[in-house]
């Protein structure tokens, strides 16, 4: 299945793009997706402990099981206000 990924804030500069698409097997988790993204965008690796992940508009953990059509967002700690 295809999973679309959006990058926010300086993650866009680390990856060089605002969006990416990954082809994953059914029942792949966010952890599986991150493994792929880290291979493709090595600069994300050093950020992994502070990376926040959302599917749609909700935060999700590494063990979240992805579904076709899920839109995943990756971003650094938020800084509003």
């Amino acid at each position: 299945m295809q999973i679309r990924v959006q990058f926010w804030s300086y993650f866009k500069e680390l990856t060089g793009c605002a969006q990416a698409t990954e082809e994953l097997v059914e029942k792949a988790t966010i952890a599986d997706l991150l493994q792929r993204l880290h291979a493709r965008f090595p600069k994300l690796v050093s950020m992994q402990n502070s990376t926040l992940i959302a599917v749609g508009v909700e935060y999700q953990g590494r063990d979240y099981v992805l579904k076709a059509g899920d839109e995943v967002s990756l971003f650094p700690p938020v800084q509003g206000g």
């Binding site: 926040l52 959302a54 800084q79 509003g80």
Partner: protein, 136 residues
């Protein structure tokens, strides 16, 4: 609980917002917070902050916080404005109003909302180098 959320690039007109507070004879306390962009970030002078927002998620997360606010305290009204785009040093980037029966709950709710916002609402800022220009 009345709720109003504005995420916008327009300057925040605090006086106008205060003047528009709904009148009530059961609410004894209104607490306001204005967050103002300072002219330095990590000890470096800056002219402005540029705010980026993942808007659908930011709106959803703000409304989740409003839901929890309503559970925790007997709040009559919350209004929140967050500016996005370039906000110059000296200008407000955030404005919050909490109206409640008593001041204790109004202060507690206002501080909780700002703390939680800074934890979960997907808004980021980027310092724009330069000298801050004082308004007159």
């Amino acid at each position: 609980m009345h709720r109003s959320l504005t995420i916008s690039a327009a300057p925040i007109d605090e006086a106008d917002l205060v003047a528009a507070r709904a009148s009530s004879t059961t609410m004894g306390a209104a607490v306001y917070f204005s967050g103002i962009v300072r002219g330095s970030e990590d000890a470096q002078p800056i002219s402005a902050l540029e705010y980026e927002c993942f808007r659908p998620m930011a709106e959803h997360q703000f409304h989740r916080l409003f839901d929890e606010l309503e559970c925790r305290w007997p709040i009559a009204s919350v209004r929140l404005v967050h500016r996005i785009g370039v906000v110059k040093a000296g200008e407000a980037s955030l404005w919050v109003e909490i109206v409640a029966p008593h001041r204790g709950e109004a202060f507690a709710a206002c501080q909780w909302l700002i703390d939680e916002m800074k934890r979960v609402v997907p808004i980021w800022k980027k310092p724009l180098p330069g000298q801050p220009v004082p308004r007159h």
